[in-house]
Symmetry: D2
Subunit: 416 residues, 4 copies
């Protein structure tokens, strides 16, 4: 359990911090202006392309991706970079090509894809020439249980034919999102966790229809490609469009979600730090008849509790990253679930109070707090609602004690 | 302390409920479609005008306004009607001409306006021929303390000349908002609570500039006229445009806020009831592998706590209304502050959990939960942040005990 | 829904308040000294007997008991008196012969007892010549469900023979508790809610053994008769010792619990008011280098939230009392459950913060806060844990909507 | 930031766990019986002496004490041992001679004491031949600020003369507590943090009077020596009874509190783990008509949240311990404050819910939950109330940002 930053981490973190301070934060109002000037477009605006060029120059590119295709960082090394990127969640991740859902899709392609699949889809994604969407959630089934997915992927001769309806396909409103990664049922008669497959669907395949955008609170996230409802009506793709084998879909989806959840948590901590920076400046600058807000006991207590929460949860995130690197994503599942339920709700609370410190301005677009609040709120549902993870954690913890089970919670929990 | 509904209340409530069920709720998707079809417009859409006609026919018009100009209801009688209207907060209040900020402006004009001011502005507002905005909050001062307002209202010959910058002027993006009610400083040298005046400014007066819309958690509320930043650059109005006397502004603003806060709380309870209705239907309809959501212990506990909170807070709101009717708004200030801090935060929590029951759909526009959540969140800042009211309540409660002070909290608090 | 205090209420409340201020509060240190001087005794100390005489003189006697035997108050009229008594929970209720569990036992005897049972047991209880215990809860079954009670009450010739083990029999350590009211199974084969009977067992009957006292946090409540574990080993009582009929036990127990829960809530509000009084004095008197505690923002906010909670919950308690008087205890069950879960937890939180204001002294016997805290904590379990009531409330609220069910939550909840 | 357990830690932790399971937990009912049999005694009972012998044999002795006099462990190495000892808080710490307040007093003597002071007091304390008390808090001053201490330590010839009143002198009711470590004012005219001295007072010195025991939520902790009010009436001690120099008292007290707070937090986590063990067994064993408690959603969620809190806070405690070892107690002050406010309140909440799972039994002495709850509650006040630490943390966090301040919170908080 050593998660001190090594030399590589310190060095890349320093570079990321400089990039953030010098280029990303100043670009925030530029992005806002560009979006306001092109209200009907979906996808990255010019400033994003400029930042990408700068990030690539600085070696701040694809850092999320462990292994040969990626930035060469471990999950633990990536953690502080991801956290920093969360301070400017609309710009920093996408500027460094580290934004969901592309990150998860690139991981899948890197780890499971065939050389041809990697050539066709991974290569342009790694260059940010295209973007991609992940089409899992469906309107009519509980998104918390991937085994209930109803979209069909039928074999028809040499092809797969995909039919179904997806929503919350983040990024899919962006025409640059040329790839849809679709989870569907390949064999309804197989055992429960072997019924599904994952298929790579070109966005321009006949039968694909992007029906409408969805909003999160009042945000459509159009600079990021939005969140789409997508109809797949007998969409025909060749046999080699399947990622992994016909029954591998559920396992692949699970594998994909683990790192994604951790990245979300890392960035969420960055949002909390950004909020604390903003609160600090505001609380010192805003002077009422009772003195500066920074001297109010209630504000001090909020800030203190926020600091404590952030410090404790960051350590838990780091431990999770370290476990993922050392024992694997699967063995780290309990910790992944733990941070998944603890971090977003804590960050939402921190942002809620930061907004309160700013007054109505905090709810507006003049500050990044409101949209970070919406993002944190959404994380309590994304990749499964908190309650599903809490129930799973609780069930595991309540398993009757047994001395023969090395993975049981009652096995020594003192540091390994 | 009798707040049982009398015959009049029962009758008007039944009518309001029928109107809500038969006309308002079915109109919600119509409004959404009309807004989507005219994305660049600010203000009421056709369906609102149709509902207004229906409401007027049914005698559900201006019910908020006590006294001769209004609907003839007391605050207590109005309470259940306002609560019902909160179940469809975008449509019901505006359909019944009971929507803020017009309600507060009409109250001011009815209680303080001269006959000429009433003829020119109150009459068309009561008919909903025009709308209005209330320009109090300023970007650079703590909005929680009206005595810090910097906008100047200078006397210049027979005119008043108004200069300053306002924001969060709700409704002012709507061209139909022909009247701006502006709070500004008339005499910087007067005692602190006598420095301000309130002036009636026609929206089309030279020097008035509606600068930009603001958003609340991503919502621009354009069907309601949005929330505007407004610049007043040497705007010249005649002497009789002043509402009340030159130093009356602060007192008038305070008087205006009381009923507004209570109306907000009543409607917020209606939002909570709407959320509970939606949760009930969803929790019974949504069946996972573990059975319907309605049988989950966590959902049951949320719903139970929501019911208890709503029941207790409704009684406190009714008591507040009853006090306003019997001892006046000023004497009811403690109770008004109490519900102002207790209701919106409770309703926000209820909505937060309702969203969780719905999953990501709860955050989208497919359900009214997300926008009600944003509205409840905003109420914790509107008309003064919770913390200001809490500090005032706490200060009053902590005044040293004295047997000679009949208003002290230690005076018998058992029911009067 | 009129719960304004009538003339009778005002008058008796004023008398109770004077009695509290003039006699009860000054007697608190006296009781403490008497208990310290007689550490091995269980039961009322001399000061209690003196206060009883004073209360009786002042007509503050048996006020809890509606109907001919009692004080002649309705539940609503009794509410403020009960609340006042909660300000000194060790002394005031017992001084006015309004202390649990005798109150519930007296109610049972008054409403269900035969004239002979009333002569033998009710009369001395009404005079406080004896005390009594209620033996329901058993160590081995979930106390939240009275149908699981295992104690047997067998018929044997002309007698009933009682065998079983009870605990949390409050008051039973006091030798003056001459009566044990025991719930047990009379017919295991009857329908679930008709299996039990309730029997009046003299404490000195052969086979009754008071095994040991239990503690609540660190309190043994010895001045109040403690909380006992009681063994009943073939205890023989005559046929007419049965209260009601052989299968009436469950219904009688339920009827008993309703008013008891309300009385607990009323007194708990009094504890909160006492805490607020103490906090007020302390926060003004305690001056640190940063000024008096009363000027700390955090303390102000605590106190403000406490005041709001108390005001809202008191109204809900009053409404519950009013419903009990007007539609009966059974029809008021939902409201009784609501206050049962809402009041004790709120009061515990208020007391927790009051202790924090006092520092370590707040945890000691130098202030009444710690023992009131323990009492509030215990109330979250007494008469069924909160979770059982929350689950029942949630289940009721989540019943599918139906227009034909007048008792459904979706039936108009606006004030009746 | 490496806090993985090293070989030494693993080994000693395994030994401590075996000692706990094999000897300490089984001794809990023995202690209860011995206390019940000798209700008037204050201090360790026979079973404690037996356990001490066993602990000493097993090398589980004085492990808290870093440096040459102690167990040879670092703070980080000691952490899991301390946590384990918290699972049986009445027995394990005292059995291993690792119980407050002796630990802090031994640390002072080891680090600041003269060889003679060490010979006279440290040696018997290290052998557990005597015990000791720490007399800092006073009834009349805010205990959160040691500079307000009023007890006087005057020089009179070759002696120091001590006069004042202390309370919450834990352990001082035990006649074996032969040493009182007393903080008092040596020079009222010195700068604020140089006014106090610390003096070693034999309990049997003329003028020392142990006035009375205090209780914590009903517990007198008599087996541990209780919590005493102590009067010092012109108590005369020789010049060499001063620990350090005349103005060193405040600094010594501060140094003493750091490790003590960390030890409290470590043990508190052990209390939480014990509670989770108990809840696990209970929730599986207790079956109601709705199935075992372990299958209730609400219980699962409680347990899940408890697990997440414990995991995150343990990491923060370990980081704090590691900082104390690497940069010193003073530099770790922020982290010490952070865990001081975060751990006890989290553990109190976990225990509160564990009690709820057990029903009324959880409040009684039949389970260790109630007394652990009282201990956790007391920790929120011991060594300074939470609010004082929160205010200090908030103030530090809100200091205006400056790039030149390496200790500022805005200095990189990503892992060092």
């Amino acid at each position: 359990m050593d998660f001190a930053p090594d030399e590589r981490t310190r060095e890349v973190t320093a570079r990321a911090r400089a990039f953030l301070d010098d280029h990303v934060l100043p670009a925030e109002p530029v992005l806002a202006a560009q979006v306001a000037a092109t209200p009907d477009e979906w996808g990255a605006r010019p400033v994003v392309h400029e930042l990408r060029a700068l990030a690539r120059e600085r070696g701040l590119w694809n850092l999320f991706l462990t292994g040969p295709h990626g930035g060469g960082l471990t999950t633990l090394q990536y953690a502080p970079v991801a956290e920093l990127s969360g301070r400017s969640p609309r710009l920093a991740p996408v500027a460094m090509n580290c934004a969901a859902p592309d990150t998860g899709n690139m991981e899948l392609l890197a780890h499971v894809g065939t050389p041809e699949q990697q050539r066709r889809w991974l290569a342009p994604l790694l260059r940010a020439d295209i973007r991609s969407a992940f089409c899992m959630t469906e309107p009519d089934v509980a998104s918390s249980d991937a085994t209930t997915i109803r979209t069909r992927i039928r074999r028809d001769g040499a092809d797969w034919v995909v039919s179904g309806r997806k929503w919350w396909s983040t990024g899919a409103m962006d025409p640059a999102a040329e790839l849809l990664v679709v989870l569907g049922m390949t064999d309804p008669d197989a055992p429960r966790h072997r019924r599904h497959g994952m298929v790579l669907v070109p966005r321009d395949a006949p039968g694909v229809r992007v029906v409408r955008p969805l909003t999160v609170l009042g945000y459509d996230d159009r600079d990021h490609g939005g969140h789409a409802e997508v109809e797949l009506d007998d969409v025909r793709v060749p046999a080699d469009a399947l990622l992994g084998g016909p029954g591998d879909g559920f396992a692949i989806a699970q594998a994909r979600l683990g790192p994604g959840r951790v990245h979300h948590c890392m960035r969420a901590l960055g949002m909390a730090e950004r909020a604390l920076d903003l609160v600090r400046d505001r609380a010192n600058a805003r002077v009422t008849s009772a003195g500066p807000l920074a001297e109010r006991g209630v504000v001090r207590e909020w800030v203190a509790r926020a600091r404590v929460d952030v410090e404790a949860l960051r350590l838990l995130v780091l431990k999770t990253a370290w476990l993922m690197d050392t024992v694997g994503n699967r063995a780290a599942m309990t910790e992944i679930q733990a941070i998944k339920v603890a971090v977003p709700s804590a960050v939402q609370r921190i942002l809620d109070r930061a907004i309160q410190v700013f007054g109505a301005a905090g709810l507006s677009a003049d500050q990044p707090l409101a949209e970070m609040f919406a993002a944190a709120r959404a994380l309590r549902l994304a990749d499964g609602p908190d309650e599903v993870h809490l129930a799973a954690l609780g069930r595991a913890e309540l398993r009757p004690r047994s001395t023969t089970d090395p993975h049981h919670p009652t096995a020594p929990r003192e540091p390994r």
